[in-house]
């Protein structure tokens, strides 16, 4: 799966969980500059992404992701 497609799917997940259909994520998006994304909603986001991409993230992978770009790369790596 291409990185841009992964980003689009993550964007859709975020829009659904954060209840914000106008949300537009970039690779540089971080928890502090996305409205509604905080330590609580992060739990729901991780769970939803695991179901959607049919994978489990381990603690290393979650802790290592500092922005959406890192998350896209991690998902792409796990899919290949």
């Amino acid at each position: 799966m291409e990185s841009i497609e992964i980003l689009n799917r993550i964007n859709n997940i975020f829009a659904l969980v954060l209840e914000n259909q106008r949300l537009t994520l970039t690779r540089e998006s971080v928890i502090t500059n996305v409205e509604g994304w905080d330590s609580f909603t992060n739990i729901k986001l991780i769970l939803t992404m695991e179901k959607q991409f049919q994978m489990n993230f381990n603690t290393f992978e979650i802790q290592a992701c500092r922005n959406i770009g890192d998350l896209c790369d991690t998902i792409q790596r796990k899919l290949t």
Binding site: D38, S39, N42, I43, I46, L47, T59, F60, Q63, A64
Partner: protein, 482 residues
């Protein structure tokens, strides 16, 4: 050596001058020597602890990185590092408290008078322990390679602007700066920004915090004599005292580092303008809340998230809310304990945990901004009652008085009658600046003006206010004791 002493005011410029005169490759040595000297000024024997901590974490990270492919060994070295770091912290800071607790509960430990149980905790241990652990965790999570240079790592642990009370810096942010030649060049912007931060820090500490403390201390030292109205006034003043004291310290720390070109993350972002407790913890003691989120809350929530697989618990609680509740409770219990060996801190931490869980469960959005700010401030004030009190009994006495016995406002008419007036004036000036920065940041600025004469005049004005209104008794910064 406190920041608000003549000693530091002489020490800092000397170190900065020597820093820029020293060739880049030797600067780490100069800063390390200065940092160790700064620390030794407290108690020379504390050096044993900081050097031991440095060695443990330096070698732990190297062993963790060497065993990257072997998850089991990697975890073992992490656990060893955690046990030693936290064991040292518990031994030196909490052993007496634990002994008292079990003695009262079960009467099975040695009598609480044994001096071995009441060791003096080395100053800054709560901070450099957490800072060292960020380095170990970051290495464990493959966020960075271990620092091979022992001197630079020792500097990361003991860096004098941060050693006493933080901010607790991420290793991925601070460590690379010690090797950054470009950053180390002398720039007038760094000097000016550093001085500006230091001056503002001294204003917050010497004018607002220390003036306010005179009234607060006199009320809290005689709780049986005062009524509810006095306690409300005292706790409001205390909220400004603790903020100004700690934010003032942080400004001086960040400014001191900035003089040498180092960028240290800000620790406060006008927390009393928060519209929720959730927001409060993104604005108060930011370095600690970030540490707790990254290294305690997040791992706990991921762990419980995996375990709680049912659709609903007790028929109504969603698993993510239960996960959040458990992780938040543990995190803020630890937060309370970190602040000190007293049940008042634990209750303070638990209260904030409860606030966050209820806030999340209700999940109310919007509302009037001013009302939200006031409600949040009142919740924070209530928790500060416990934080400031010497013990739980004193907290309860104060709360009871607030609810049942208003009394009349205590106004000191002794020798230091000007202290409350100067305190209120200091708070007013601070609030003026904070309101301007929060709500009118793009409008005209004195200290941020393009015209350097206006900027210099504003710095001069603050210095004048410090000299005229400030308290110069070299009182301790409050957060040094945590």
């Amino acid at each position: 050596m406190y920041f608000n002493t003549t000693q530091y005011i002489l020490f800092l410029p000397l170190v900065v001058i020597l820093f820029y005169l020293t060739p880049f490759r030797f600067r780490w040595f100069l800063l390390l020597a200065a940092s160790y000297y700064f620390y030794v000024c407290w108690r020379a024997e504390f050096m044993v602890v900081i050097i031991f901590s440095t060695m443990v974490n330096y070698f732990s990270a190297i062993l963790i990185a060497r065993n990257k492919q072997d998850k089991r060994k990697k975890k073992i070295f992490l656990v060893i590092a955690l046990v030693i770091n936290l064991g040292m912290l518990i031994l030196l800071k909490y052993l007496g408290f634990i002994n008292d607790f079990f003695h009262e509960l079960f009467n099975i430990t040695p009598a609480p008078t044994s001096p071995l149980l009441y060791l003096i905790a080395p100053v800054g241990i709560s901070y450099f322990t957490l800072q060292s652990l960020t380095y170990v965790f970051d290495t464990y999570y493959n966020l960075r390679e271990p620092e091979k240079h022992p001197g630079i790592f020792a500097l990361y642990v003991a860096f004098f602007p941060l050693i006493l009370s933080g901010p607790i810096e991420q290793s991925t942010h601070l460590l690379p700066q010690f090797r950054d030649r470009e950053r180390a060049k002398l720039k007038s912007s760094n000097i000016e920004e550093g001085i500006k931060l230091i001056i503002w820090g001294y204003f917050l500490k010497l004018v607002v915090a220390d003036r306010t403390s005179i009234y607060v201390d006199s009320v809290f030292s005689n709780v049986d004599r005062h009524g509810g109205i006095t306690f409300i006034a005292a706790i409001i003043l205390y909220s400004f005292q603790i903020y100004s004291d700690f934010a003032g310290y942080s400004c001086i720390a960040i400014g001191s580092a900035r003089l040498m070109g180092f960028d240290v993350l800000h620790n406060f972002n006008r927390p009393y303008f928060s519209q929720s407790i959730r927001e409060f913890w993104t604005r108060w003691h930011i370095s600690l809340s970030t540490w707790l989120r990254n290294y305690l809350f997040s791992p706990l929530s991921y762990y419980f998230m995996r375990k709680l697989q049912k659709e609903r618990y007790l028929k109504i609680i969603r698993p993510e809310l239960l996960t959040y509740g458990i992780a938040t409770s543990i995190t803020f219990l630890m937060c309370g304990i970190w602040h000190g060996a007293n049940f008042t801190f634990i209750i303070w931490g638990i209260l904030h945990g409860i606030y966050l869980i209820v806030d999340r469960a209700i999940n109310k959005k919007g509302g009037n901004k001013v009302v939200n700010i006031i409600i949040t401030y009142i919740l924070v004030l209530f928790a500060w009652i416990f934080f400031r009190s010497e013990n739980v009994h004193q907290s309860m006495t104060i709360i009871k008085a607030i609810l049942t016995h208003p009394g009349s406002l205590y106004i000191p008419f002794d020798s230091d009658v000007v202290a409350p007036v100067y305190a209120v004036l200091g708070i007013f000036i601070m609030l003026l600046v904070e309101v301007k920065r929060e709500f009118f940041n793009s409008s005209f600025s004195l200290s941020g003006n393009k015209n350097e004469y206006i900027r210099m005049a504003s710095y001069g004005l603050i210095i004048f206010l410090i000299l005229y209104l400030g308290v110069f008794d070299a009182s301790q910064f409050m957060y040094v004791k945590f």
